[in-house]
Symmetry: C2
Subunit: 468 residues, 2 copies
Amino acid sequence: MQQFSNNGDTIIAPATAAGVGAIAVIRVSGMRAFEITDGVFVAKGKNKKKIAEQDSHTIHFGWIKEGENTIDEVLVSVFKNPHSYTGEDVVEISCHGSIFIQQQILQLLNRHGARNAQPGEFTLRAFLNGKMDLSQAEAVADLIASDSSASHDLALKQMRGGYSSEIKQLREQLINFASLIELELDFSEEDVEFANRKQLAELIGHIMSHISNLISSFELGNVIKHGIPVVIAGRPNVGKSTLLNALLNDERAIVSHIAGTTRDTIEEEIVLSGIKFRFIDTAGIRETSDAIESIGVSRTMEKINQSPVLIYLFDVNESTPASLRSELEELKKNVHSTNYKVILAGNKVDKKEHEKLKNEFDGFGEVVFISAKEKLNLPILTKKLLDEINLSHTKHDNVIVTNARHAEALQHTNESLQLVLEGLNKKLSGDLIAPEIRNALYHLGLITGEVTNDMLLANIFSRFCIGK
Amino acid sequence: MQQFSNNGDTIIAPATAAGVGAIAVIRVSGMRAFEITDGVFVAKGKNKKKIAEQDSHTIHFGWIKEGENTIDEVLVSVFKNPHSYTGEDVVEISCHGSIFIQQQILQLLNRHGARNAQPGEFTLRAFLNGKMDLSQAEAVADLIASDSSASHDLALKQMRGGYSSEIKQLREQLINFASLIELELDFSEEDVEFANRKQLAELIGHIMSHISNLISSFELGNVIKHGIPVVIAGRPNVGKSTLLNALLNDERAIVSHIAGTTRDTIEEEIVLSGIKFRFIDTAGIRETSDAIESIGVSRTMEKINQSPVLIYLFDVNESTPASLRSELEELKKNVHSTNYKVILAGNKVDKKEHEKLKNEFDGFGEVVFISAKEKLNLPILTKKLLDEINLSHTKHDNVIVTNARHAEALQHTNESLQLVLEGLNKKLSGDLIAPEIRNALYHLGLITGEVTNDMLLANIFSRFCIGK
């Protein structure tokens, strides 16, 4: 991605997924979108007007032609600026969904002067043309990537405004004070204070507490977006892999396998009740040696320390309350994180009487007795899991930060605001406070794109797919 | 596919390729398409009219909602019957290209009364509603599957009418005579002849020669559609695999690997000058034993017998005119097909002087001297290949049958017409000729779908992709 000013290039890309489908859509955007389309499109029927003369949001049937050679029968949708996705003139060509035809049409458009779009370039233009702010643009990519109800809802909320308006509001209030303080600098000889220091301190306290809430929501937002890690641990042969497979095969679960994240652990994404989990089976690690010892392996430790929940599985036929107690103590010794929940699950209950079990492991609080093999009581286990997750996060109801870039910018904003507060407490003069307020404004502005730079934009939009 | 009458069901399916893209399109077709869309779509802006009240071929921006819960921001395209692909009321919902969102919208539409479409059901409806004949409908699937310029052109030609109109015309002429003969049957007591026997014989001769041309074009049509098989044969270590790889890596070639067609031979699809070839490397077969013997292996023999062209490769450094002559004689003995061309290619010329070579193998006609390793003279080889193909097929200029079903129907038509001709020669009466004319009409009608039955339709449309 070389340039970020809208330089009049007309860009094209397939907008639909690669592969064979009934139809495919090719998107054309830019000053010459209509002219270029007119050069390759012949409308069928009486309406022979040029594309530019057609009404916006209308569809036209005809052929893509190169001279006498017909490439395809297509529908052409016309969107006139600013009423389009990018804010520019846009044409969407709906052709037959063969890769060959798409290539032919793209190459023909190339020859007529359109350039192939970079990843995310349509959305970049939408941002540059003021159709959406930066945080909304980022949400478009999140929305397309979302694969659970929870991550979808968060992305959609962000795309439709989300906390953008809130951030903009906070920033405006801060700008008002900043301008008063900047004004003081002009009159610095006269020792005046246009900005009420008490009100400023109150405002900053208010903004900081607001931002702190947003920052702390990121922990949840991040796991909702990428999946909540849940480690399945336990001694060898207690059925860890069987449990993972049983959860995977459960019809209600939407599954995808994460290939090659680490070689030692198996991770599987499973969506339960609209929330994505990343189940981590530690079974792969030194299955033959002692399980507790194997948990000590640094990678597993890392996983456990990152996971808010751990399912500790034991074999009800092999375990006694005493052996289980010593295992759990061993586990506790090896895990450094203090911020995780353990769900105890007794496996292989198909071989043992249920009532007896309950009495036997009475001292361990709530134990879920399951049979991974027979898929017995698995809904109870997943319900327990969902409860544990929800319990620790009910405080974040509405506004949740899911974007690491935003979280970082918020963090930097608060660091600057902290320095401003300290300056105010020390009764520093305006010229000493002003730079830190500017810093805070800068970081806050990065989120919505009111402050931006080419490297930031390149970084954000290069992660998009082609055609968006 | 259970029913073939248009029973008022409203059907839905994703129309774009599966996978993640910028956008995806969901197609809704049927009597209740507008009503069902209205139940889930909330337009943005002032234009709050119902879908049914909007103009055809217009696009509307808004949200897909389930109650208060927003699923996505979408564009909705409205096509009013009969001006749509299916001829019914059609809505195309252009949503964000996430699989999750598509599933959500499809499930929501299900809950509002739409049924998931069977493969090809949209095109089936287009056929049932008279938007296209059966041969055109079949061409839609061919068009989507086409991956070379030649197969694309044939499919497009067929979709836009192709020989449909010709077949219809021939059939009509035949129907005229048939009705006259049927009329004779009503007056059979009176021994009249309404149908001029001489004219009928002339017409049938005319139709049969026309149909024969179509039938013989199928050989070419079929290979254009599925790729022209070209066997690469020769002794071990002459560089057969290297040649195949060199052709594959040539930048101008569009390549796809055919997995698992046979385990003994390697097949690769390569598009050269818009024509698809299936190169068959026989190198996998008993590479250690004698090559000519290995060619005798039945599978290779089969391949050679099916291929119009064989590239016989020899190592110019190891071969003498005498050894090459004996290899070619051995080959001729083992190949039963008489209808194939042999292109002689001398490989590894990088190690030998070119002029010397030309003299040495002077007696073999045109030999192409190449170096597969150094990619030397490969364009000459491919040009030679294209020449050989075109040479044998220049007679088929325009109308080419690509569909096995059509070829079979044409064959049956001509068989019936042959019986009619024989009957006319024997001066048989109308009641003995009429049934065979009816048979010919039946088979001819199957091509365009003027005659049809449920099994035929099921067979044709079940091969379509979902959403088409």
